[in-house]
Amino acid sequence: MSLLRIDNMTHYFGGLRAVHDYSLRIGPGQIRGLIGPNGAGKTTIFNLITGIYRPTSGTIVFDGQNIVGLQPHQVAAMGIGRTFQNMRLWRHMTVLDHVKLARYARLTYGLMGAFFGTPRRQREEAETEELAYRLLELVGVARFAGQVVTGLPYGAQRRVELARALAMEPKVLLLDEPTAGMNPEEMLQMVQIIRRVHKDLGMAIFLIEHRMRVVMDLCQVIQTLVFGQVIAEGTPDEIRNNPQVIDAYLGKEVVT
């Protein structure tokens, strides 16, 4: 029984076919990877899953329910969390606020609570902060909790983004190039963090990556996407040795 199942999904931007006949199965707790050259349509697939675009055809079933046509906030509330390739944080908001807003749907206190501090507000705020610190601890940025995100080092900002996605308590976590722009040391740390997050929280992870080493390290099954079409799917070893993949994507400068 797949947690996330996509069948024959195709998407056009005007006359341009961005994704063609794409299918995916992710079971609970699995880690899947998606690789492919720039412009292959990887991020488009994330946008289709999260409801930002609506696929031209095909089905997306999450947790037994068809989610095609749902609004992004509905998809998110069902348990699909996400980070972005070009990191989308809210400048001038604190790290703690980022994680708190991810708990939006679970905060039930209203105006009275906000203005006069009812017991319910105290309780919910305490719960939220406890969870926030636990997640920030998990990704290693708890010491920045009270700081505004713009002042943080790049690697820390990416971890805040991850913590924010985790605070949604997603069943599937979509990571769009989590190591983009990182130096080799930061990259290794990020791989460790992802592994730790997966071990501790046990959600399924679907990962887009450019760096072969990261996907090969983390994923059990990898898809290769070229011009919106999956040209190969298999274990890291199978992908590494697939002549089509080497030809279309890896080229000569294979593993970085």
Partner: protein, 307 residues
């Protein structure tokens, strides 16, 4: 000195209108990156809503059906006008802006102008060109403190305007909806991925702003009891100036800038011939903006990619 203090009182009252309208302008501008040019006309709608409610309650009282004390009539007028006007504001969002989410910025700006024209001329068509007179809701008493004349009306207007500004500031800071608004101001596109409905927050933003504009409308009607369909035009433009001057994303900034506008206008008029008031006042503001292009409390920002 007495003259100066008297002008301060006048400026506070005059600035109250700008401040209350600027809050709504500023919120929509901050949260949705839109200039809702219909907001001045929402102020007009608010004044008329207040007029209808107040006239109705006063008439009921005169007919002996429902005699309410004047403070209660004022309170009910304010609350009901806030409610009704916020419905109009949310309708504007739903019908005028939501379909254009993601459309070019210029189209959304046009929407505001067109809705403004519709509200003005719609009012004209429905109620005719006759000006309406806002009922005197409370018995005006004036107090003389150290030579300065302050009416109870002015006190109500000034105090409530300041309180509402502070309340909105706290709302944005403390509630989860306020937090979502702040986040939307920085990056619109990510907010739904936190399970927040952008449409709900947009409606809330328009609703709150319109409710505050309604209060401004009622206060304006209390101070200058003549209502006409185009009353929101110039006041609206000036409040828009205050919203920008306050700085994007700052509730307090918009409120303060509203009062500042009141001060500049009143004090310029106190010194120079009143025909030159706006010429001089807005030249001053132009200079201020030259030195503070992001306003008083705005942070430099770049337009984010929007959905």
């Amino acid at each position: 000195m007495t003259f100066f203090l008297q002008q301060v009182v006048n400026a506070l009252q005059w600035g109250s209108f700008y401040a209350l309208i600027a809050l709504g302008y500023s919120m929509v501008y901050s949260v949705l990156m839109l200039f809702n040019f219909a907001h001045g006309d929402i102020f007009m709608v608010g004044a008329y809503m207040g007029f209808f409610v107040a006239t109705g309650l006063v008439t009921l009282g005169a007919a002996g059906v429902l005699a309410l004390p004047s403070w209660l009539i004022l309170a009910l007028t304010i609350l009901m006008a806030m409610f009704l006007t916020s419905l109009v504001g949310m309708l504007v969002e739903r019908v005028g802006y939501r379909p254009l989410r993601g459309a070019p910025r210029a189209s959304a700006a046009l929407t505001g102008l067109m809705i403004g024209i519709i509200l003005q001329t719609g009012n004209l068509a429905l109620l005719g060109a006759r000006r309406q007179t806002f009922p005197g809701l409370i018995d005006v008493t004036s107090y003389k403190v150290a030579g300065v004349i302050v009416s109870n009306k002015a006190l109500i207007i000034i105090t409530l305007s300041i309180l509402l500004t502070l309340a909105l500031h706290q709302f944005v800071r403390r509630t989860k909806w306020g937090m979502a608004m702040r986040a939307m101001a920085y990056d619109f596109a990510v907010v739904p991925l936190m399970g927040v409905s952008i449409n709900t927050i947009a409606l809330l933003t328009f609703g709150l702003g319109s409710a505050l504009a309604a209060v401004a409308g009622i206060f304006f009607g209390m101070a200058y009891p003549v209502l006409e369909p185009y009353m929101g035009l110039l006041v609206g433009w000036k409040a828009f100036v205050a919203a920008i001057l306050g700085g994007r994303g700052s509730v307090l900034g918009a409120g303060l800038a509203g009062f500042l506008l009141g001060f500049i206008e009143i004090f310029v008029a106190a010194v120079f011939p009143s025909t030159l008031r706006d010429v001089i006042a807005y030249s001053i503001i132009l200079v201020i903006l030259t030195f503070r292009p992001y306003g008083f409390f705005g942070e430099p920002y770049s337009a984010q990619l929007r959905l």
